[in-house]
Symmetry: C2
Subunit: 323 residues, 2 copies
């Protein structure tokens, strides 16, 4: 019996299930969790937990209103926990590990850093998304996927592949999307909801942020700045700035992109993106932060102009080394 | 024998072919034309014609350097013309009809308004793109598609579906993309080239244009303005403004979006987009222009502020009717 068969066997033998995903959720976390809910809702009692609010661009997903955001709101009679899209249990909630003590844990994820914390661990770093893995699981459950499940899984894959554009977009991502469209996912409706339903405030925020654009002379380094005044002026919230840094990485020739985002009176979060040559994880670590080779960040205290000057010099030096 | 078989039979019996597509080409026009070239290049003499320059975001396509841009550069010994992605022959060039007189014409297109000008007309308005239709044709040619052909067709489909987001994105679009990935198209590499390789000048232009953002009070109408000074200041060319209007249609609640673009000293081109309720074709016609229900445009002479004021009032009245 393979792993998928084992998990489906466990699932069939269980009635009360808790599904949980990570803090600051995006499409893969929410889509994957709700897909499990919709696939099994008729036969099982399924609770869905996510610590944080569902972002506005996912509010169209069927079932979001059922998600519980506090551990205290959950019934404690569940026999099994399915944790989706989390490299480790602390990504769910600081107290989650203690909260689920003694229950069977199924771990479904696509992060390379997954710690295999489950009783059964369905983890594949090759998958574009946890949604892509869950599709394989549900397809072999012996039940046809309903349209709600298809919508949730399609959204998970679409968002984690950046609408089929990121490096993780594979033959299998397209094959899965094709089957999900057949099962009832509507690409245009989902794309409109996810990518093209911004509040006007987001554009007002973007206007201000783009006006701060600064290139290095050779245009290999570019940065943007986001102050708390800008949020106020645009009546915008931080979640609306999601993706702003991509305006810089979409420029030909840019090697390192940065966003300086004010998080306190004299406190700034710097987000780094590298197109591959420069290792921005190392830089972030030196600044007390962390991340991956191509995406990292750190929080710094002090004067904004000084912070910018200092970091720009360091980045320019790193870029020079890879000329 | 069905139409595809007939066309493949004609193709096999022919050695010298001219492939042509429309002026102001985008991904579907260039991708479809070059796909035909790559599929048959080993056995046939194929010339590719396009009146206009290939835009920067398509310059990565294999074979673009072979495209001829003047009729006088073409050898006149071709026996057959394949016209792709054109509703009628005048879309190729004003003199094209005369130029190809006496040759067999194969017409492959997905525009509803296609005039069936060919000897054989492979036209399907249901297809997302001409690329999707050409895939069906080549698949039944008895030859396996090579990677260059797959890259060209994938680009055609990706661009005409807005990276699998527009209303024309169907089950078959995904099915075709899946097969093209298997044949060698790399989604991430193509997306980077097509969507994320903008010249820095484009972002400098966007900054200025977004600063002109104007909403109506109820935020159902939004517009942007692009002056010739802005091109100068950003050292940008008009092709870089492609897609700017989509920033407005991506806002929840916007019913009509407009871009006022200066084209002469006192001359402005107004582009309209409707989210579906308001018929902007009618409005454009009244202003001496034309287009479709959801996308239209007109060119106006006069003072910019007066033009804006007048058109905003008309649009607001149209929106009110559909409340």
């Amino acid at each position: 019996m393979n792993l998928i068969q084992k998990i489906n066997k466990e699932l069939k033998a269980t009635t009360r299930i808790l599904v949980a995903s990570h803090q600051n959720p995006e499409g893969d976390a929410i889509g994957s969790a709700l897909a499990l809910y919709h696939h099994w809702k008729a036969e099982k009692e399924i609770q869905v937990f996510n610590e944080d609010k569902v972002p506005y661009f996912l509010s169209f997903l069927p079932g979001v209103e059922l998600i519980k955001h506090k551990l205290t709101e959950l019934k404690r009679n569940f026999e099994m926990v399915i944790v989706v899209d989390c490299a480790n249990l602390s990504r769910v909630n600081d107290n989650f590990s203690k909260f689920i003590e003694g229950r069977k844990i199924i771990n479904i994820d696509h992060h390379q850093t997954n710690s295999n914390f489950g009783m059964l661990n369905l983890v594949s770093a090759k998958a574009s998304s946890t949604g892509e893995i869950i599709f394989e699981l549900l397809k072999k459950s012996g039940k046809r996927l309903n349209p709600e499940t298809a919508i949730c899984l399609y959204t998970a894959i679409s968002m984690d592949t950046g609408s089929f554009q990121y490096i993780n977009t594979s033959y299998n991502s397209f094959k899965t999307a094709t089957e999900l469209v057949k099962l009832g996912a509507k690409p245009n409706q989902i794309a409109r909801a996810v990518y093209h339903s911004h509040p006007p405030a987001r554009l007002l925020l973007l206007c201000q942020v783009l006006a701060t654009l600064k290139f290095s002379k050779d245009q290999k380094r570019a940065d943007l700045t986001l102050s708390q005044d800008m949020y106020k002026k645009a009546q915008a919230s931080p979640e609306m700035a999601e993706g702003f840094i991509n305006y810089l990485t979409s420029i030909k020739g840019v090697e390192v992109a940065m966003l300086f985002r004010q998080v306190g009176k004299n406190q700034y979060k710097v987000t780094f993106r590298s197109m591959g040559k420069v290792n921005v994880a190392r830089l972030a670590e030196e600044l007390g932060g962390g991340g991956h080779h191509q995406a990292s960040g750190a929080t710094l205290n002090g004067n904004l102009e000084q912070i910018k000057r200092q970091i720009r010099v360091r980045v320019d030096n790193l870029i020079k080394r890879y000329k």
